[in-house]
């Protein structure tokens, strides 16, 4: 049977609109419950600890080795071009604090914590635990979503600071040991050329990333269907979706910050 291409386009458009509508309803319900019912502080603490503990080890390693490899590559490129390693601290500092720290941390959190959130909510969905929440007088938005949104908003900025710190420290270690740069030169390169707005540029992005990861992982969990296979599929889609959206929005958020002077 031949399919009309316009029918296909229409179907895709309807499907995408439907998804966007469901997503908007989920966010609306979360906001309404946030204002209309007491916040579950215990759950927020529990989720924040889980999310943080889940991701902190990988974030530390990612930050440290990213900073190290950045210093190594910059150093040897600089040596081959100018016969000496120049501005290693500046390159490492700017790259880590403005881009690599926030983005790579968001990737790790999407892969570890985001996947865990989707798998947990998805399993609850297919075993009727979500329905049970309704019959026990609460709502998934109140009991599951709000605490997880808060947990992402709390942990992602903290993890990013840890990644930034270790990245710069990793770069420092390579600069000192491998490239034989005096420590004062490395730190001067950072503190002379960088200021708080550079840090804020990267730090503020983490709240947008937290929103993206929380929204995608919760939405995918709530829309899980089809037993264990469905949970696996939803988890994969959640991780891929979160990572792609983080990368795409990273560009637009950065461009916006540059426009408003937060360079």
């Amino acid at each position: 049977m031949k399919t009309n291409p316009f029918e296909k386009i229409g179907e895709t458009f309807i499907y995408a609109s439907n998804r966007a509508g469901q997503l908007a309803f989920m966010i609306k319900s979360t906001v309404i419950w946030f204002f209309k019912a007491p916040v579950e502080y215990g759950e927020i603490v529990k989720q924040s600890v889980r999310l943080g503990v889940n991701s902190v080890g990988v974030v530390m390693l990612t930050g440290l080795f990213t900073g190290m490899v950045l210093a190594l590559q910059t150093g040897y490129t600089s040596i081959s071009l100018f016969n000496e390693p120049l501005y290693i601290g500046t390159v490492v500092g700017f790259s880590i604090v403005k881009e690599l720290g926030p983005v790579l941390t968001a990737m790790v959190v999407a892969g570890r914590a985001g996947a865990a959130v989707t798998a947990e909510i998805g399993t609850m969905k297919v075993t009727e635990q979500i329905d049970a929440l309704y019959t026990l007088g609460t709502n998934p938005s109140r009991y599951l979503l709000i605490p997880r949104y808060f947990a992402f908003f709390i942990t992602l900025p903290i993890l990013t600071i840890i990644a930034d710190f270790l990245g710069v420290l990793g770069g420092f270690a390579v600069a000192m040991i491998k490239l034989r740069i005096p420590s004062t030169v490395y730190w001067d390169n950072i503190f002379i050329y960088m200021d708080i707005s550079n840090f804020m540029h990267g730090f503020l992005k983490t709240f947008f990333f937290a929103f993206i990861i929380a929204t995608v992982s919760c939405y995918k969990g709530l829309k899980t269907e089809g037993g264990a296979e469905g949970v696996g599929k939803a988890t994969t889609e959640s991780v891929v979706g979160s990572m792609l959206l983080v990368l795409v929005f990273d560009y637009f958020i950065s461009a916006f910050f540059i426009v408003i002077g937060l360079i």
Binding site: I32, A37, E128, Q129, D131, Y134, G137, T138
Partner: protein, 244 residues
Amino acid sequence: MIKTESLRKSFSGKTVLDGIDVEISDGEIFGVMGLSGSGKSTFIKCLVRLVNPDGGRIIVDGRDILKVEGGVEMARFRRKFGYLFQEGALFDSLNVLENVCFGLRYLTDISPGEYARVAREKLELVGLKGVENMRISELSGGMKKRVALARAIAAEPKYMLYDEPTTGLDPSLTKKICRLIKEMQDRLGITSIIVTHKVEVAFSLSDRIAILMNGKFKVLGTPEEIRNSTSPIVKEFTDRSECF
């Protein structure tokens, strides 16, 4: 009292409920029988709007619940109902006591200090003692059902909905659960709707039984009337039922 008028529901073009009209009196145990996939669970899910019907009316204590707007208002309305899910739907992340206490927090005005005492009482009512701190994964199928039952009745609902309360249980546990439901009915006097495909469960518990077929209650009567019925629908259903 629960009353439905022309209740309809379809999934992807397939009609599951095709105009259900029924009136369930206070204190009654109403059994809904039907083959697997006939829409029994959908019927009781519609009553608490876990599934939104396509049309018709559901009147509970004089109020049409399809006109209840907003999640917060609906959550308040659901306080009247207890729901026993087919697989229990216990929260894996919580232990037994926390599961039973869960509803007390949202459905009642009991002070938090009293939750544990009330939850223990309900666990004793379903014949469970000393399991409060066990994880859900450590429980057997029958224990899970009983914990789920304790959780469902903890807030002392006016209406109790049972979705296949004995599925997956051996005959001895089935008898035990049936006895529990009957005892609780006598003690708490709640109105119950029991969805089951097991004929002996429906017959032993219900005041009235309806057989759901092709989206409609094809037969409705007391267990005695149904037992003596010569209707081909009753015959078809009971013949196909493995337990009759």
